[in-house]
Symmetry: C2
Subunit: 467 residues, 2 copies
């Protein structure tokens, strides 16, 4: 049965590619209201397409922002119900001059398909829809119950996602989620995502005087807000690269032998990794690069400013200084607690007479993890091993996938990231592309995954669902 | 003779005040091209006035920017020739809404004359011109040779002053300069300025990668330009408030017993000084507030920036960071050497893989000093003692007076600051005012100073002139 579906998918490559090209031609840039028509067109395209596949209940879900596209097939009672996540919005194409071709006119070259959104994530979203559609077309049924949830605000930080899930939680109820976003880590070594770091942030504002002071009249006699900010920021790490906020690392659990073995199985070349972006390696001693990037927390100042920043010179002692800080968290670290620890540390070091104002940022998200015996992970691993001829290496993402944490929080379900994009595809940059060989590979993978999950029951997922 | 001149000045208070009011009505804002007419009008006012006093050679001196107003009287052969410095330009009046009266319509209230430029420095400039004019009017001669040099770019940092002095050096040749700018430190305790701190500056730019990096993909693995900048800035001082740049303090000479005694004679209340501007006291231990402000160097970061500084959050690891640094220098410190020491210190601490670019700022100026036995100082002290009934305390300015350093460098002459404005007059701020009692006091003081200097010869100044 599954082989017939795969054969059908392989036979229809031209048709699938034409559909992806049509999808890519729609400039669905969510960040820029000037692209509202493109957003509208992409939603219309998806509604028409999904309706033509045999999926039912195809409609838009409104959360107050850009609506999401929904479609369901519920013809497999007793089988698991999978929410399939993708997004139809894309990053702005700027800077346009850096593109070698029109970002909204797909161009094939050297086995790559160039277009904005090709990699992130219209390519993998198309693969997911085509795989389900092929089951319905060839066999009249899908091995599992499926609910598509295709978001329109992923590239703008999902501002109304929480509200959207709140309003439509009943419709979205599922045993687990499979995401078309969150791609492969390597072209040759199969990997499977088992988690992502969390995120938390705060803004720091210092005030050292009522107003800017003249450095000739006050220099040498009073505190300078920028000096104090520099001291505070410098205090976040020690010279060796350890995070120096008391209590912060204590909440990050020691790496397990399995975690160390998994990261060692998929080593990153630190010199090449840094050289590619001209960066200098730095970070917590005693951990490999991949461990630092995925299994250890990080604190980064994202912006810092104060005083006179224009041309020339202004001899002021700044009275105010500002910094934006975000941290990447690992399982075991509570985002609110992490912010509190940093805030307490800064308050301890802030000298008398200087006022410190901390504003926690919204949108915090804890790290997420798939437990080792989760059916999603078992199914995904089995499929990748058959597909790639090699046991997949469990990997974690250094970045945060807020949608994963949000669906865990609001719907109590875990997510398997099963996208097929690769790390070199210039996501968010000019000349974004998708490796064309990923299309047949992804179609096969998704068909096999749906079949694999179809061999399970919803009861298999029950132990892993929360409330 | 001098008493007759003073009697005449006192009898003409109404006339003098009317002239000052007319001068204040002219909006001579040099920083804003929208006030070009006001600048032109102020120059015309001064040319007419000076021509009416019996001064000769009244004309504009062009240096490529706002011209200066020049006038001379050279009828005292053998007597010293004094360059008299003032400026006719004023600060912009913004923020206008904070003014209780029109900044360009002088208003008298509670013994104060409110108007932009009343304190800085049309009041004291008027006093200087009136005193010379009174000698010419009453006695037909001035006790010394006088050359007025009234600048039009003081409030914009004197961009063409160097060129102006270069072009017109012959005309400006003198034995010494008396400045109407640089006022009194106290209403009750007579003080005499014997020097000012110098200034030097640099800009620091760091680059830690080829581009901004995503904190999810790189956080914990690479250097962050803002972290490095914070470390570098924090390293300029130790936790106690000492400048921590190796070699920097070594060039600042130990305070002499006389300097310590002079500053002790005119103590500043540190708590009140800081409370007035809401600042926290901080600085080199072991020195009084006034010593730190005038006899010890200071390093201040005037501006610092990098990364994302807009609204909300952007999870980047910034690749660039910037800081503007200026320092106040004391006699013995060479500005170029001071910049080099800071640059070397930063380079030493900058980690491998992070590039550091130092741009020394133009307009450096060494500290200036009047030697203890300079005829200007002897004359000024004697006059202030008679005028105020108390020996004046020698004080130094914490700020820099570039015109003083420039005239020392280009014309080899020293400057006595003999302005009568007071520190509370909201200079550069809304509701600037001049204490009206300073007008008769200043007129008497200037008349007495001219007479005192008239008792000297140009030979008395020769040992203090440099090439």
């Amino acid at each position: 049965m599954t082989q017939a579906v795969i054969d059908d998918l392989m036979a229809r490559q031209g048709e699938i590619r034409a559909r992806l090209d049509a999808f890519l031609r729609l400039p669905s840039v969510s960040a820029d209201p000037g692209f509202a028509e493109g957003m509208e067109a992409a939603r219309g395209f998806l509604l028409d397409w999904l309706r033509g596949t045999g999926l039912s209940d195809v409609h838009l879900l409104d959360g107050g922002g850009e609506p999401a596209v929904y479609a369901a097939w519920k013809g497999a009672p007793g089988r698991p119900t999978l929410l399939v996540y993708g997004h139809y919005d894309v990053q702005p194409p700027a800077p346009l001059a850096a593109w070698r071709s029109d970002p909204f006119e797909p161009v094939e070259k050297d086995g790559r398909l160039y277009a904005r959104g090709a990699s992130d994530v219209k390519g993998s979203t198309t693969i997911a829809v085509e795989a389900v559609a092929a089951f319905l077309r060839v066999t009249g049924a899908c091995p599992v119950n499926v609910k598509f949830f295709l978001e329109g605000e992923e590239e703008t930080g999902s501002p109304s996602l929480r509200e959207l899930v709140r309003r439509h939680g009943d419709l979205l109820r599922a045993d687990a989620m499979i995401s078309a976003d969150g791609g492969r880590a390597s072209e040759t070594i199969p990997t499977i995502n088992v988690g992502a770091r969390g995120i938390a942030g705060l803004e720091v504002a210092l005030r050292s005087a009522d107003k800017e002071l003249h450095s000739g009249r006050y220099g040498g006699a009073v505190r300078n807000a920028l000096h104090e900010m520099a001291r505070l920021i410098a205090s976040l790490h020690d010279a060796e690269g350890h995070i120096a906020v008391p209590g912060f690392l204590e909440a990050a659990p020691a790496l397990t032998p399995k975690q160390r073995a998994d990261t060692a199985a998929f080593l990153l070349d630190e010199a090449a990794f840094c050289a590619e972006v001209g960066a200098a390696a730095f970070g917590e001693p005693g951990y490999s690069l991949r461990e630092r990037l995925t299994l250890r927390p990080a604190i980064d100042v994202n912006g810092m400013w104060g005083g006179y920043t224009g041309a020339g010179s202004k001899t002021v002692i700044p009275d105010e200084a500002f910094a934006k800080i975000t941290m990447r968290l690992v399982p075991g670290q509570d985002p609110e607690r992490a912010v509190a620890l940093v805030a307490e540390h800064l308050a301890r070091l802030c000298p008398p007479g200087v006022s410190l104002r901390i504003t926690p940022k919204s949108g915090n998200s804890p790290a997420s993890s798939l437990s080792e015996d989760h059916p999603l992970l078992r199914a995904g691993s089995a499929v990748l091993e058959r597909l790639m001829g090699r046991t997949p290496v469990p990997v974690r993402l250094g970045a945060t996938v807020p949608v994963t944490a949000l669906f865990q929080e609001l719907l109590g379900i875990d997510t398997l990231m099963f996208g097929f994009n690769l790390p070199d595809e210039d996501v968010h940059a000019p000349n974004e592309f998708f490796h064309l060989e990923s299309i047949p590979l992804g179609l096969r993978g998704w068909a096999m995954l749906l079949a694999e999950l179809g061999g399970m029951t919803d009861a298999d997922f029950a132990p892993f669902r929360r409330a």
